[in-house]
């Protein structure tokens, strides 16, 4: 069956009676499913709960920082709050979110396959995620950890707080991440539809493939490092303990060898989402398809070389500081290429103004601002002043909230009709999107200035001169939280009583839109044969105007 003419004008939307959601009934059928779409929906629910939890911790931290002294909680509780905000947000939301939800749901659909390469392994990843999450959260209840999400060595191995459950939880979450990455790499290598060469895969598939490479090759090192910290804390083996001859900077090397590629595990999938959504929203071929695909792989590989820029002031040698700084600049260039290509994709497009469009506009601004402040922090002399201050906090939130969560929300809104067969209310969508973009700016621009003024991270009490900016940031964060609540409300409403979406509401050329929405249990009735390049929005037989800039 050749590629159907997806650009036919909208016929009346039909909701398939039998689809993956109601193919088999009962909770047990959900808990033992090997259908990648059901696993994706379960990931979506768990990941949103984790995001809610992380958000609550964030609000607790922001409210505490309203006054220079104790506001609502004691020092120990505050230290637990920011640690858990870090651990929950990074290990339970950012890393598993887009690969777990959209990777699982869309990768087989975009490749024209029936399922991922190892369906049972996919279910095991989900169970490992749940086990790791419960372990980490029980660690919270059993007294919690106050070491920050980085578990730096001499403090994490000598603090009396219960650290072992969280470390074990992170270790198991690492396994879940490895298995997902492994699954996706094999799927992309072996289960592509006939006619789909490497250059005919959609850019979301490229981004997920690059992310999976990082997941598979970087996560084992954090698994070992976290285990070593656990053994060190329990057994006192002296591996990172200077009083026994160990070297704490070695811990930092091993930790950041994973954690810097980990930030690319978080941002690359959202770049993939943006590439796909921007093409669909602008109804145009992606400008510089090859450049974006190769820079995804470029970020994946060169990202492994740059971990030292987290340790500029940690006693690392000036030579290594210089080496890591140069390499960080090259990783920055790959992101710059992508942003230029996305903006160029909008040129002479036919842009539909919808909620994903606002997220994309926000994404582009935040990606450039966040990315370039990252480059600024990589110039070593500035990092001496900025390291471990709120400037760095603002930088990585610009990337994590500004780029990754904007990408996640753009994807959630764009693929919501495909996943659940219903449409969300466009008006509310745009209101919420603008609120979030505004609230985000109001929260994190003051934090850049706080960093310049010299306020260090993880401060429970701070000198009075920083109070003004902190109050502004807290006000902004409540606006941001309000935006997220609105999204939750209208998405749940759309889930229950949204109007039907039909197979291809956005009239997009993605392969995943060829099947019904919500898709059948076995995705495609016949495996599609791919004959065109991805994202080509010309009607068949229409004369195509070629433009080269």
């Amino acid at each position: 069956m050749s590629q159907p003419n997806q650009l036919a004008d909208k016929e009346t939307p039909v909701y398939p009676a039998v689809n993956y959601l109601n193919a088999d009934r009962g909770v047990w059928s959900w808990l033992t499913t090997v259908d990648h779409k059901r696993i994706a929906v379960m990931y979506l629910v768990s990941v949103l709960i984790a995001f809610l939890l992380g958000g609550i911790f964030a609000m607790a931290v922001r409210v505490e920082l309203l006054t220079p002294d104790a506001t609502v909680m004691g020092a120990n509780t505050y230290n637990r709050m920011f640690t858990l905000h870090g651990v929950v947000m990074i290990f339970l939301f950012m890393i598993p979110a887009i690969p777990g939800v959209f990777g699982n749901f869309l990768l087989p659909l975009m490749l024209g396959a029936k399922d991922v390469a190892f369906p049972k392994l996919n279910l095991l990843s989900l169970y490992l995620y749940w086990t790791g999450a419960t372990l980490a959260l029980t660690g919270m209840i059993m007294g919690g950890t106050d070491t920050g999400w980085t578990f730096y060595a001499p403090y994490s191995t000598s603090t009396p707080t219960t650290l072992f459950p969280v470390l074990l939880g992170v270790f198991i979450l690492g396994f879940s991440s490895i298995l997902t990455g492994l699954n996706f790499i094999v799927t992309v290598h072996t289960l592509r539809a006939p006619g789909m060469g490497w250059m005919r895969m959609q850019l979301f598939v490229w981004a997920i493939y690059a992310t999976s490479i990082i997941q598979v090759l970087a996560t084992p090192v954090i698994g070992l490092t976290v285990l070593l910290v656990g053994i060190e804390k329990v057994g006192g083996f002296g591996l990172f303990d200077p009083t026994k001859g160990g070297d704490p900077v070695l811990f930092q090397h091993m930790f950041w060898f994973y954690s810097h590629p980990a930030v690319y595990i978080m941002v690359l999938p959202s770049m993939g989402v943006i590439s796909d959504v921007i093409a669909a929203v602008a109804r145009k071929n992606v400008f510089g398809y090859k450049m974006i695909a190769y820079s995804s792989l470029g970020i994946a590989f060169v990202g492994f070389f740059a971990w030292g820029h987290h340790m500029f002031v940690s006693g690392q040698s000036p030579f290594d500081n210089g080496a890591f700084a140069v390499i960080s600049m090259f990783v920055g260039v790959f992101t710059a290429i992508k942003v230029f290509n996305w903006v160029a994709t909008l040129y002479r497009g036919a842009i539909a103004v919808t909620a994903p469009t606002i997220y994309i506009c926000g994404f582009l601004f935040f990606m450039v601002f966040g990315g370039m402040t990252g480059i600024a922090v990589a110039t070593i002399s500035l990092d001496v002043h900025w390291h471990d201050t709120y400037f760095v906090v603002a930088h990585f939130h610009f990337i994590m909230v500004g780029a990754v969560i904007m990408g996640f929300l753009a994807g959630l809104h764009y693929w919501f009709p495909k996943m659940f067969g219903r449409k969300y209310h466009e008006g509310w969508g745009m209101v919420a999107a603008s609120l979030i973009v505004l609230g985000f700016n109001a929260t994190f621009i003051p934090q850049f200035l706080l960093g310049n003024a010299g306020m260090p991270r993880r401060y429970y009490m701070y000198p009075e001169r920083f109070q003004g900016l902190n109050v502004a940031s807290t006000a902004g964060s409540s606006l941001l939280a309000f935006g997220f609540i609105i999204i939750l409300v209208y998405l749940i409403y759309a889930l229950l009583r949204g109007d039907l979406a039909g197979d291809n509401p956005w009239q997009s050329k993605g392969v995943e839109w060829m099947t019904t929405s919500p898709p059948d249990k076995h995705n495609f009735h016949e495996t599609p044969v791919i004959t065109e390049d991805p994202h080509t929005y010309q009607k068949p037989g229409e004369e195509v105007e070629h433009v080269v800039i």
């Binding site: 060595a153 200077p242 071929n285 006693g315 290429i337 040129y347 001496v384 991270r457 105007e545």
Partner: protein, 351 residues
């Protein structure tokens, strides 16, 4: 312009030589970042309106990049990024190489407080450090428990303080005043209260203050209680106590008399000729190495009988010994190399 940008970005006052060059690069980087991100945001916004979807199912041209465009897209950002790197690395190398004539201060980071001890002998204090204006000050820092980070926003300097070893940083204050020291590496419950203060005084006023402090040193201990820390009184006294307990004084005299080992009087920065004829300056490096590996550089005329103290001296003890040796200075200005060893019991020379 400098003050306008500094206030715009909420940067603290520039109170050290390093601060100025850092801020100049800062202004350049931040302006280019602001221009680039606003331009991208506006361009995207402009495209949103100019190329709105006018009718449903509207088809669009196939726009592809030319090689020229690709090179520009890679070249332009790379040029700026590498330019910043070069300037940043140059400033950083200047920052990590302290000048020769620095005034050394030993900094001890301990759970939620900073302790300062002047290298050349002088009052050591908890929390406040008095430094002269216009003279480079080098901080030799170590920690007693976990990793801290010595951060002075007004000087734009920050350096992690690691347990079990020394890290160093330096600054040259340009404006008298009181500047806050903050801990920047999470170190426990009261990480947020681990503040200190650097009081920058005009140079003559500082010298007078130091002289006055040193005079009354013997009887007045400035450090206050210390829970079992090994800094009882000044570091020089501590060094003397270590020298006595480790048996150094059996071979090294303190008042210039010849004995089994070279005398420690006026040893610091003395030009010693070694057994192999090589001439070496007895600076901290030589003193520490000789403690660890005495047979490596034996002074001419002396037997290599000194046992190695490798593994028997902890870092603070070795440092205290060095300070004790540096504090033994007689009035004679000219520093003669040591003569040969004398094997009778040492008679205290009358001076």
């Amino acid at each position: 312009m400098n003050d306008f940008m500094r206030n715009l970005l909420w940067l603290p006052v520039q109170a050290s030589t390093f601060a100025k060059s850092v801020d100049n690069l800062h202004y350049f980087v931040i302006t280019v970042t602001m221009i680039a991100s606003i331009a991208t945001g506006l361009l995207a916004f402009f495209f949103f309106f100019k190329y709105r979807q006018r009718r449903s199912g509207q088809s669009t041209p196939n726009v592809i990049p030319s090689v020229r465009f690709e090179i520009a897209v890679i070249g332009l950002p790379l040029f700026f990024f590498l330019l910043w790197f070069v300037q940043g690395f140059k400033d950083y190398i200047w920052y990590t190489t302290p000048p020769k004539n620095t005034m050394d201060v030993y900094v001890m980071g301990k759970k939620w407080m900073w302790k300062f001890a002047y290298a050349g002998g002088g009052p050591n204090a908890i929390g406040t450090l008095h430094v002269p204006e216009g003279r480079p000050v080098r901080l030799l820092m170590t920690s007693r428990d976990v990793i801290h980070s010595f951060y002075v926003p007004d000087f734009r300097i920050k350096q992690d303080v690691l347990p079990g070893r020394y890290t160093e940083t330096w600054f040259e204050a340009t404006k008298p005043g009181r500047y806050q020291v903050l801990c920047a590496e999470y170190c426990g419950t009261w990480h947020s209260q681990m503040w200190g203060e650097i009081v920058v005084m005009p140079a003559p006023e500082f010298d007078k203050w130091l002289q006055q402090q040193r005079a009354g040193l013997a009887d007045r201990v400035d450090t206050g209680g210390d829970d079992g820390g090994d800094f009882r009184g000044s570091i020089v006294e501590y060094g003397k106590k270590v020298a006595m307990s480790e048996g150094c004084l059996r071979c090294h005299s303190l008042d210039g008399t010849q004995h089994i080992g070279p005398t420690w009087l006026d040893m610091y920065l003395r030009r010693e000729t070694l057994e192999n004829g090589q001439v070496v300056i007895a600076d901290e490096g030589y003193l520490t190495d000789s403690m660890i590996d005495p047979r490596a550089k034996v002074v001419k005329g002396f037997k290599p009988v000194m046992p190695t103290y490798k593994g028997r001296l902890t870092a603070p003890e070795a440092a205290a010994l060095v300070e004790f040796i540096k504090s033994l200075r007689s009035e004679n200005l000219e520093n003669l190399p040591s003569k040969e060893a004398v094997y009778e019991p040492a008679k205290p020379a009358r001076r």
